[in-house]
Amino acid sequence: MWSLSQIAGSIHEWLSTTFNPTIALVLEMVIAGVAIIGLFAVLGLVLVIMERKVAAWIQIRLGPNRVGPKGLLQSAADTVKLLVKEGMTPDGADKFLFNLAPFIAMIVAMLLMAPIAFAKDFQFWDLNIGILYVSSISSIMVISILMAGWSSNNKYSLMGAMRSGAQIVSYELSAGLAILTIVVLTGSLQVSEIVQSQANGWWLFKGHIPAIIAFVIFMIAVTAETNRAPFDLAEAESELTAGFHTEYSGMKFALFFLSEYVNVFIVCAIGATLFLGGWMPFHIGNWEAFNHVMDYIPSSIWFFGKTFFLIFLIMWFRWTFPRLRIDQLLNLEWKYLLPISMVNLLLMTALAILGWYF
């Protein structure tokens, strides 16, 4: 059957038979790097057009429909526009930090792609602390936002950055605790093992109520972590014009924009991996025929289907809810989500010790 792991395997085989091992390794690294950059760009384009179409669908309008078939090339056209635009640097800005910030945002988004299992046996880097790696790298994102807000020398940017800092730092806690509840069940931080542990059912269904609570908390927390509505206080266009990227233009702005979307993809991919079984097909108990049919669907389609379903959920939030106020945002985290997820983690630990899960 056609699969991503077979393609990767045959490339590896061809390289190692054609070149000596060192050159083959270097070439493989180059190919992986190019693949990540390509994935970054493609995901950005796809998610932007998806967001606009979803928004249009929710808002009873058509959305982009002029460039290409059904407007599908609109984001490609926008990218070309952004590439040829001048990237202005304000006079009063700290030029080094100002220009560095968007690249940090982009690098963080790319680094986060490494441990994600896109399909069966297809992963850039299956390190044994994969989930820990994701949560630690994603906290670097806040540095780029603070850097952008501070170096812009603009009051709106600074306020947006400060809001964002408070927000990301606090919501990381409950996102981390929600992740921990699943780690407690699997006993491993390695992404491939977490996926493998769901071969007989997804954790969302196997983990009883604590898993469902953890899933809800995880979705809320990652929506806040990626600065998307209803937690988009960092950008809050009706209050702060554009928040931390007010002064950015051209491709520098686009890098922030793209990394936001890629971050949304990554957190949804993590959510799908932890709670919805990653690339694992949907199986029901001992319905042999049904399970067999499900196995025929390629694992990459399962993974991307689940991820895009979660992305759709996050987009749905954005186009439905009003924005929270900064104090309500922090109250929600520190007074509700954090205590709930702590208790939830304890519950899950008890369940895991007693073995009361499927």
Binding site: Q59, M159, A236, S238, E239, W319, T320, R323, R325, I326
Partner: protein, 371 residues
């Protein structure tokens, strides 16, 4: 700048919101003194869209100056024109035919609904929810189409003239208005589901922007802003004009005094406007749509004042005449100006995000404030 504001201390952040800013819905300039996210002082600066409409009107005849007023509060264009037309009629003692009166009232109420619809969408947009705007425009568009058919314009209608209305109704008018009422009744529950009942929205609105009834009166507020503080102020009830005294409708009063109360007043006012239109739409009397007037209008020497209830509050038109063909002096008492004046009072001490919400509930239309 820091010394001028007086209230600032070391460490305060002064930001200029506007004149070009997505939150101000126009060219309003707010100088905000912030302590972190908390507002210490808000100072509105006006004048960016001042077109000296009052001075300009002194060189326009009594027929012409009415058209300029469509550009004041452009969302209540009919009602502005109505006020001016009635003021001139008062001076000339013209008896307006009953058909014209009914048409005027229907048009006023349609305008009020359209204005509140736009306010509802923009209000939700201020709070970061972009979708309600499109839902509001779905209904508003049908009203605009009705206006377009009868008046020829969608925004600045210029339909009310001294003595009645400019031309007769379009033959489709009654059918279309009934269709609109049906559409409205079918869709209004979506407003509550999408925004009013939303827990985030309620948390953002309840308990913020407290305006006590005493302050509402002493700052000269009017319209839904005062009624949200429980002060009865509907000109249609207190100083009925045209046929409002014969109509059955309620003055909406909420006693919450906060942003949410002002929000509810406007939402429920739309229902009352529909109620008024329902009473009239099948009972438009036959007859002239305009009284016979002289080609050149000359108001007798004296002072004339007429007030109406626009979508935003009380609009007063004050004409001083020397007996000529043009007014000697015109003064408008616009609702937006007085309503804006409470902004500092209600916003001080709250968070920056709430300022935008409060401005939304005051329903500011900048050309109305600045004229």
């Amino acid at each position: 700048m820091v010394e001028e504001l007086g209230k600032t201390t070391e460490g305060d952040l002064i930001i200029n919101v506007g004149p070009q800013h997505p939150a101000t819905h126009g060219v309003l300039h707010l100088v905000i003194t912030l302590n972190g996210e908390t507002i210490k002082n808000v100072e509105p600066h006006l004048g960016y869209i001042h077109r000296s409409i009052e001075k300009m009107s002194e060189s326009l005849t009594y027929r012409q100056f009415i058209y300029v007023t469509s550009r004041m509060d452009y969302l209540s264009a009919h009602i502005n024109n109505h006020a001016c037309a009635m003021c001139v009629e008062k001076g000339l003692q013209i008896e307006v035919p009953e058909r014209a009166q009914v048409i005027r009232v229907i048009m006023d109420e349609l305008t009020r609904i359209a204005s509140h619809e736009l306010w509802w969408g923009a209000m939700a947009m201020d709070l970061g929810a972009l979708t309600p705007f499109f839902y509001a425009f779905r209904e508003r568009e049908t009203i605009n189409e009705i206006m377009e058919e009868t008046c020829g314009a969608r925004l600045t209608m210029n339909y009310m003239v001294p003595g009645g209305v400019l031309q007769d109704l379009h033959p489709d008018f009654q059918r279309k208005v009934k269709e609109f009422i049906q559409l409205y009744k079918r869709k209004i529950h979506e407003y509550d589901e999408l925004v009013t009942g939303n827990i985030i929205f309620q948390n953002r609105m309840k308990g913020v922007g407290y305006l006590s009834p005493e302050d509402a009166v002493s700052y000269g507020c009017s319209g839904p802003v005062t009624r949200g503080s429980g002060v009865s102020s509907d000109i249609r009830k207190h100083y009925p004009y045209e046929i409002y005294d014969k109509l059955e409708f309620d003055e909406i009063l909420e006693t919450g005094c906060d942003s949410f109360a002002r929000y509810l007043v406007r939402i429920r006012e739309m229902e009352q406007s529909v109620r008024i239109i329902e009473q009239l739409i099948d009972n438009i009397p036959e007859g002239d749509y305009q009284a016979k007037t002289k080609a050149v209008l000359k108001l007798p020497k004296g002072e004339f004042y007429q007030r109406v209830e626009t979508a935003r509050g009380e609009l007063g038109v004050y004409i001083v005449s020397e007996g000529g063909t043009t007014p000697y002096r015109i003064k408008y008492r616009s609702p937006g100006f007085s309503n804006l004046s409470v902004l500092n009072k209600i916003a001080t001490g709250s968070k920056l995000g709430d300022l935008v919400a409060m401005m939304g509930t005051l329903d500011l239309v900048i050309p109305d404030i600045d004229r």
